[in-house]
């Protein structure tokens, strides 16, 4: 099964961290990614997203595109990055994610990814 780890954070909360804390976060994030790469459970690499002020949101209504500045979700928290895990169960996935420093500083949402396979009915 595949699970996505969605890192939600607040850019202001990140700015509020001390340099030492940010360094520690980066070190731990490296160690975390090395761990899941070595276990063969990380698919590809982690994706880190730019500041939400850089986002554009696209809507097409009646065939007319409308492009607005800013992320889709309003509020202080935003989607800061994600990664995909392949493992046995959501319990294993959440267990892995407890090692991600983002879970310590912010929050990581774990969700199953839909797939195209099906057993017989």
């Amino acid at each position: 099964m595949r699970y996505i780890g969605l890192i939600h954070n607040n850019p202001e909360a990140w700015q509020a961290l001390s340099q030492a804390e940010r360094d520690e976060h980066d070190r731990d994030a490296d160690a975390f990614l090395r761990m899941v790469t070595e276990s063969g459970e990380l698919l590809g690499g982690a994706v880190v997203l730019a500041h939400p002020s850089q986002a554009k949101t696209v809507r097409v209504r009646n065939g007319q595109p409308a492009i607005t500045d800013g992320p889709f979700a309003e509020g202080k928290e935003h989607l800061a990055g994600y990664y995909v895990l392949e493992c046995d169960s959501i319990e294993r996935a959440t267990d892995i994610v407890t090692h991600d420093p983002s879970a310590r500083y912010f929050a990581v949402e774990v969700r199953p990814i839909m797939h195209m396979t099906a057993s017989d009915l």
Partner: protein, 413 residues
């Protein structure tokens, strides 16, 4: 079969033999396996240009040995050893051996299958290593078939090999009682490979069905090596009887057709005949294991010309037996369907109720999908719709979700 297909099949048949020869000679499974992989890649390139050599097996052994020597040398260099410490293999030995006795080669294939299923390896490593070391597939091919990045598969393979190295597992068949347990894992690995290919509905079809074919090919080899093992024959029969339904299981748009609604004239008769013969043969062997029983159930379905001709009492009896020897909530779920067909939907619903207490099963979409189906049979469309909707919410499969949503929509109003 095209020329390239024949070559590919030949390469894959030779892969475990060449690897076995090398490992018996030089130990070091980890680097021997890499060397064989490189020799296979070289063969794919060179044979296409220059044709298949007269003795393809000897060619592969020679090329793999060269790579092995290179690797051992650079390993030595890495360790900054003295140049004077010559490699372990004198250049004079860099020739293919006389055609070895076939018994040893067959034993090698079996030993490799058992080695790749070692419990020190995680199931994904077992699967990837089996396909590469025994199946002769490249890392890229395994990655494509599993829709996983190549680097991830490479990581699973190297991690598996590190475990084998660290555990000091010898290149020999395990003795009883370990052998029996290991055979169980070998069968599990092969069944995993089969299911990965079989359950694919659409998307990159070709590579997925290759996995099914590869699982069947490897299980056939295993059956040839262990003709007395009832469970090996049982697994092969289960694969054949399941694969026989493939032409009828999807509509052209990829949506699923349930067993009861499949056009049975499209089932693959040849696979069914072979599967049925195997089931008959294997059920006469004791003790009977879970694969033999699942194959027997698939055989009862295969023997019914129309869904309404299905011998449900026999299927129910087989599920009862299966539940006794291998208790498992999924078996209970399936038994509830058979029970409903024999004694009516309420009997099936009663059995499903006993599973609600199990938290894990209660969250499984299949429980709710079956409950919905039984409510429908019992003439309670409102309850059926609710259960279909619950099942649609819980499943992580897109085609299953589409199917469950369409069943729920049909019952609306």
């Amino acid at each position: 079969m095209t020329h390239a297909d024949v070559e590919d099949l030949l390469l894959r048949e030779l892969a475990p033999q060449v690897l076995g020869t090398l490992v018996r000679r030089y130990a070091r499974f980890d680097i021997c396996e890499d060397a064989v992989q490189e020799a296979l890649l070289a063969a794919t390139r060179q044979w296409a240009e220059r044709g298949v050599p007269a003795d393809p097996r000897a060619w592969l052994i020679t090329v793999a040995q060269r790579r092995l020597v290179d690797e051992l040398r650079s390993e030595r260099a890495r360790r900054r050893r003295e140049e004077t410490a010559a490699t372990r293999i004198p250049p004079g030995q860099l020739v293919a051996p006389a055609p070895g006795d076939e018994r040893a080669e067959e034993d090698d294939t079996l030993t490799l299958l058992f080695l790749c299923a070692h419990p020190a390896l995680s199931p994904p490593s077992q699967v990837a290593l089996t396909l590469r070391a025994v199946g002769g597939l490249t890392t890229a091919e395994v990655a494509r078939a599993f829709l996983v990045p190549e680097a991830t598969i490479a990581q699973r393979i190297s991690r598996g090999k590190q475990r084998i190295k660290a555990s000091g597992i010898p290149f020999s068949l395990p003795a009883e009682p370990e052998r029996e347990e290991r055979l169980r894992v070998v069968l599990q690995v092969l069944y995993l490979i089969f299911n990965e290919g079989y359950t694919a509905t659409y998307g990159p079809h070709l590579q997925r069905s290759e996995l099914t074919a590869e699982a069947i090919r490897l299980t056939r080899i295993l059956r040839r090596l262990l003709p007395e093992e009832g469970e090996v024959a049982g697994l092969l029969a289960l694969m054949l009887l399941t694969d026989a339904r493939r032409p009828a299981r999807n509509r052209p748009d990829g949506s699923l057709v349930p067993l009861a609604e499949q056009d049975r004239s499209r089932w693959n008769r040849q696979l069914i005949d072979e599967g049925l013969a195997l089931v008959t043969d294997t059920l006469s062997r004791k003790p009977v294991g879970p694969y033999q029983l699942q194959a027997a159930i698939a055989a009862v379905h295969a023997e019914a010309a129309r869904a309404e001709d299905t011998d449900w009492p026999q299927i129910l009896a087989l599920y009862e037996l299966l539940e006794r020897i291998a208790p498992n909530p999924i078996v209970t779920l399936n038994r509830s369907v058979a029970l409903a067909m024999v004694r009516g939907p309420h009997a099936g619903l009663g059995l499903l109720k006993t599973l609600d207490r199990d938290d894990k099963v209660a969250q499984h979409h299949r429980l709710h999908a079956i409950r919905a189906h039984l409510h429908e049979l019992a003439g309670d469309p409102a309850a059926a719709r609710d259960s279909y909707q619950t099942a649609a919410r819980l499943t992580t499969s897109v085609p299953e979700q589409r199917y469950l949503e369409s069943r729920a929509a049909r019952l609306r109003g």
